[in-house]
C-alpha cells in the first residue's frame, strides 16, 4: 500500500525543512536507508534517509519547497497504485501548513496531474463520505505546552518504544525508526540512549581540550578560517533536547555555600593510608561527597524527589549520579542506593562506572534514573559554577575546586583553610528555598563535622 513520506525532525529544534535537492525522481525504486533528498534545517543541510520501500510515486514538495515536520513530502508505494487520495490529502495539509507557517507556497508550479480538488465534483463527493481521510481542513494536532508536536498519525512506534521514550524523555520525532514502515522500535531507543551523554551537569560541557590547556589546538577557530557547519550527532541532539527541557521547564534557583573541606580530606588521607594496596586504589573525594549527600538526603527526603505534573514522586532509594566528561559529551553514571552503602563500596562502584563511561560501555540502566546528581569541576580548576538539573531528580550539586583561603579564626588569629564552594541547583516546583537551604547547610555540617552525625 502506498504511504506518505513525511518530513522528519532532522534537528531537535527544526520546525520546517526546505528540500534542497531530490536524489530520487518519480518512478525510481527506493530502499530503506536510501538517501532520497537533502533537507535544509534551521541548522544544517541533512540527508533524508528513506524508511519506506517501494517506488517513488510522487514528489509532493519540489526542490526549494518547504514542509513542516510531519507533513508529507512524497508518496512511496508500488508502481501503478492509485494514490490520488493521498496526494489530495497531502496537498491540503501543505496548504494549511503554509498558512500556519506564514510562508508562501513554493514558487514552483505543482505537478500537472495534481488538480485542484474542487474542480472534480466526483472527488468532492467522495471527500464528504470520508471526511477523516480527505476532510477540507485536517484538525490541528494537539500541541502540548512544551511545544513538541503530539504524535501525529505519521509517527509509528511500538508501545514499548513509546514507553521507553516517555521514561527517558526522548522526543520520538527526533528518531528514525528501523522497523517496518519506519516504526520506531526498542532498538532505536536503545541506540539513541547509547548516544546520550547525560545532560545533568551541563556546565561541564567543553571542559576537556584546549580551553583548559590554554593553548588552542589549531591556529584559528577552524582550519580554513571560514564558518563550518558541524553536523549534530544523535547524542548531542539528545543532550541538547533534554538540557533545554530541564532548563526551560524546571524553574531553577541556586544556593551557594562555602565548606571547609579540611576534615574530609584529612579523613580521606587517613582512610587511604589504612586501606590495603590491593583493595582497589585510593578512595576519591567524590565517594565521600556522594556519601555525605546521601546522608543529608535521608534528613531531607523531600529533596530526593521528582516533579511529575500532578504529583511529586518521593523516591524510596537514594541513587546518586556523578557527571563524567567524555570526548564527545558527558554522561552521568548512577551509584544505586547510596543511603545503605559505605564510602569504600560507593568508591568501588563509582570506579567501575567511570571506567565504563570513559569507554562508552555504560548500559542505559547504569546512567538513567538518578534521584540526585553531583557534578564536580574542581579538578578542572573551576572555583564555583551552576549546573542544570538532571531529571528525574530535582537538584544537582556543583562542586568547585578545593583551595586554600586565609580565615580569621574564633580567637582573632589568621589561619589557613581548605575551602570548597558548593552550589545547589533546585527545581522550585519540588524544593522550596528554605528546604534547599536547610539541606545544603546540613550537607555542609556533614562534611565539616561528620562525627556529629554518628551521635
Amino acid at each position: 500500500m502506498a504511504e506518505q513520506v513525511l518530513m522528519l525532525a532532522l534537528s531537535p529544534t527544526m520546525e520546517v525543512g526546505t528540500i534542497v535537492k531530490w536524489h530520487k525522481k518519480e518512478g525510481d525504486t527506493v530502499a530503506q536507508s536510501d538517501v532520497i533528498c537533502e533537507v535544509e534545517t534551521d541548522k544544517a543541510t541533512m540527508e533524508y534517509e528513506s524508511v519506506n520501500e517501494g517506488t517513488l510515486l510522487k514528489i509532493l514538495v519540489p526542490e526549494g519547497g518547504q514542509a513542516k515536520i510531519g507533513d508529507p513530502i512524497a508518496v512511496v508505494g508500488e508502481s501503478g497504485e492509485d494514490i490520488s487520495s493521498l496526494v489530495e490529502a497531502a496537498e491540503q495539509k501543505a496548504e494549511s501548513a503554509a498558512a500556519a507557517a506564514g510562508a508562501k507556497p513554493p514558487a514552483t508550479e505543482p505537478p500537472a496531474d495534481v488538480k485542484p480538488s474542487m474542480a472534480e465534483p466526483a472527488k468532492a463527493a467522495e471527500r464528504e463520505e470520508k471526511p477523516a481521510v480527505t476532510g477540507a481542513k485536517p484538525p490541528a494536532a494537539p500541541q502540548p505546552a512544551d511545544g513538541i508536536p503530539a504524535l501525529a498519525g505519521g509517527l509509528k512506534a511500538s508501545p514499548l518504544a513509546r514507553k521507553m521514550a516517555g521514561e527517558q524523555g526522548i522526543n520520538l520525532r527526533t528518531l528514525r525508526g528501523s522497523g517496518p514502515g519506519g516504526r520506531i522500535v526498542k532498538r532505536d531507543i536503545e541506540k539513541a540512549l547509547r548516544q546520550v551523554a547525560s545532560y545533568g551537569a551541563a556546565a561541564a560541557v567543553g571542559v576537556t581540550g584546549p580551553a583548559i590547556a590554554g593553548t588552542p589546538a589549531v591556529a584559528g577557530p577552524t582550519a580554513s578560517g571560514r564558518d563550518e557547519q558541524i553536523p549534530v550527532s544523535g547524542k548531542r541532539k539528545i543532550i541538547a533536547q533534554r538540557l533545554s527541557e530541564s532548563m526551560y521547564s524546571a524553574p531553577h534557583y541556586y544556593l551557594r555555600i562555602d565548606v571547609d573541606a579540611g576534615p574530609m580530606m584529612t579523613a580521606r588521607s587517613r582512610l587511604n593510608a589504612r586501606l590495603p594496596r590491593e583493595a582497589g586504589g585510593k578512595v576519591s573525594p567524590n565517594a565521600f561527597l556522594i556519601k555525605f549527600v546521601a546522608e543529608s538526603l535521608k534528613n531531607y527526603p523531600s529533596v530526593n524527589a521528582s516533579w511529575q505534573g500532578d504529583t511529586i514522586l518521593q523516591f524510596g532509594k537514594i541513587d546518586v549520579a556523578l557527571a563524567v566528561a567524555q570526548e564527545d559529551g558527558l554522561i552521568t553514571p548512577v551509584v544505586r542506593d547510596c543511603g545503605s552503602k559505605g564510602i569504600v563500596q560507593i568508591d568501588r562502584e563509582l570506579k567501575i562506572l567511570i571506567d565504563k563511561a570513559l569507554t562508552n560501555k555504560l548500559a542505559p540502566e547504569e546512567y538513567s534514573g538518578a534521584t540526585f546528581t553531583v557534578s564536580s569541576l574542581g579538578p578542572s580548576g573551576i572555583l564555583e559554577f551552576t549546573a542544570i538539573i538532571n531529571p528525574p531528580g530535582s537538584a544537582i550539586l556543583a562542586v568547585g575546586r578545593i583551595h586554600k583561603v586565609p580565615v580569621v579564626e574564633d580567637d582573632g588569629s589568621i589561619g589557613v583553610r581548605s575551602q570548597m564552594m558548593l552550589t545547589l541547583s533546585c527545581d522550585h516546583r519540588v524544593i522550596d528555598g528554605a528546604v534547599g537551604a536547610a539541606f545544603l547547610s546540613d550537607l555542609k555540617a556533614m562534611i565539616e563535622y561528620p562525627i556529629d552525625h554518628l551521635y
Binding site: S158, P159, L160, A161, R162, G179, V185
Partner: protein, 327 residues
C-alpha cells in the same frame, strides 16, 4: 532415571491410579482386549479385569455419557476417545453434561471424569481425521484442558487429572506416543495449570504446548545458531492457564510468538495473543505473531499436509519478524 515412551507414561499413570483407587475405571473403544488402539492401555485388562477396563461399541456419545454418569455417582472414569476427531460425536455430552452439572446443581454434583485421546493431525489421515480440538474444548467454562509434551508431564498430569474433581480433557497425539523421556520410578504429580519454561532466553518468547513443542525447541536452537536468544514456554495446561508465566516472559523479552497446531480463526492462540496484547501492551516491541495451521481443511497430499502446519522455518520467520530482523 528410566527412559520410557509417552504411551508407557500414560499407562503407568492409569495403572498407579487404578491400584491406588478402586473407583478409577477405563472405558472406551478397544481399550481392553486389544490393549488400546495405540497400545496405551497395555496389560490393564489382565491386571484389573473386565469390570474396570471396559470395551465399548463404536458409540462415542453413548460411552462418553456413561463415563459422565459413572462420575456423577462416585466413580472416577477415564474415557478414552480413539481420537479427538470422534469426540465430535460426544460433544453434547461434554458441553452440556460434563461441563454443566456442577453449575446446574448448585455445586451438589461433581463430575470427576477424564476424557483422553490423541488430538490434532498425525499423517496421511486427511481432513476428517486430522483435526485439532483445543479451541473447541478450551472454549467451554466448566472443564479443564491440558496438553503435556513430555512423558514426565504426561504421567504426572494424567495422575493429577484423574484425582481432579472436575472434568478434564487430556490431549495427546498419535505421533507423540513413541516419544521417549526420563520418568522417575518414585511417584510424583504435576499440577494442572502451571506452565514450564523449557529454555531460557532474552529476545523473543515462543509459546506452545503439546506436539509442536519439539519443533519449537528446534527452532529456538536454530535461532541461537544465528545469534538470537529465544525463551520457550510449554503451557502444558490451557485451562487453567498460567498467565503469569507468560506475562513475565513477554515483559522480559518484549516480543512473542504463539505456536498452535490448530486453525487460526477463534483459536486458542488468538485468545492468548489478545491476552498478551492487553496485559503486556506497554512491554511489546512488536505485535504478537501467531504460527498456526492454515485456515483450510487438512489436505491428504502429504506435502500439502505438512505445508499447512507450523514448521521450524515458519516459527523462525515469525520470531525474526517480531525481532525486526530483515529476512
Amino acid at each position: 532415571m528410566p527412559v520410557i515412551a509417552f504411551r508407557q507414561a500414560l499407562k503407568d499413570a492409569m495403572d498407579e491410579e487404578m491400584a491406588r483407587d478402586e473407583n478409577v475405571i477405563l472405558i472406551g473403544e478397544e481399550v481392553a482386549q486389544y490393549n488400546g488402539a495405540y497400545k496405551v492401555s497395555q496389560g490393564l485388562l489382565d491386571k484389573y479385569g473386565p469390570e474396570r477396563v471396559i470395551d465399548t461399541p463404536i458409540t462415542e456419545e453413548g460411552f462418553t455419557g456413561v463415563g459422565i454418569g459413572a462420575a456423577l455417582v462416585g466413580l472416577r472414569p477415564i474415557v478414552e476417545w480413539m481420537t479427538l476427531n470422534f469426540s465430535a460425536q460426544a460433544f453434547d455430552q461434554v458441553l452440556n453434561n460434563a461441563a454443566k452439572m456442577q453449575h446446574m446443581s448448585g455445586g451438589q454434583l461433581r463430575v470427576p471424569v477424564v476424557f483422553r485421546g490423541p488430538n490434532g493431525p498425525a499423517e496421511f489421515l486427511s481432513s476428517q481425521h486430522s483435526q485439532s480440538f483445543q479451541a473447541f474444548y478450551s472454549h467451554i467454562p466448566g472443564i479443564k484442558v491440558v496438553a503435556p509434551s513430555t512423558p514426565y508431564d504426561a504421567k504426572g498430569m494424567l495422575k493429577s487429572a484423574i484425582r481432579d474433581d472436575n472434568p478434564v480433557v487430556f490431549l495427546e497425539s498419535e505421533l507423540m506416543y513413541a516419544w521417549k523421556g526420563e520418568v522417575p520410578e518414585e511417584e510424583y504429580l504435576v499440577p494442572l495449570g502451571k506452565a514450564e519454561i523449557r529454555r531460557a532466553g532474552e529476545e523473543v518468547t515462543l509459546i506452545s504446548f503439546s506436539k509442536p513443542m519439539q519443533m519449537v525447541l528446534e527452532a529456538a536452537q536454530a535461532l541461537e545458531k544465528e545469534g538470537y536468544s529465544a525463551e520457550v514456554i510449554d503451557l502444558r495446561s490451557l485451562r487453567p492457564l498460567d498467565e503469569q508465566a507468560v506475562y513475565e516472559s513477554v515483559r522480559k523479552s518484549n516480543r512473542c510468538v504463539v505456536i498452535d497446531n490448530d486453525w487460526p480463526v477463534a483459536g486458542f492462540a488468538s485468545y492468548l495473543g489478545w491476552l498478551i496484547s492487553r496485559n503486556c501492551f506497554d512491554s511489546l516491541d512488536a505485535p504478537v505473531e501467531l504460527v498456526t495451521m492454515e485456515d483450510v481443511p487438512t489436505p491428504y497430499n502429504h506435502a500439502m499436509e505438512l505445508a499447512m502446519q507450523p514448521s521450524v522455518e515458519k516459527v523462525m520467520n515469525a520470531a525474526k519478524r517480531v525481532m525486526y530482523v530483515t529476512q
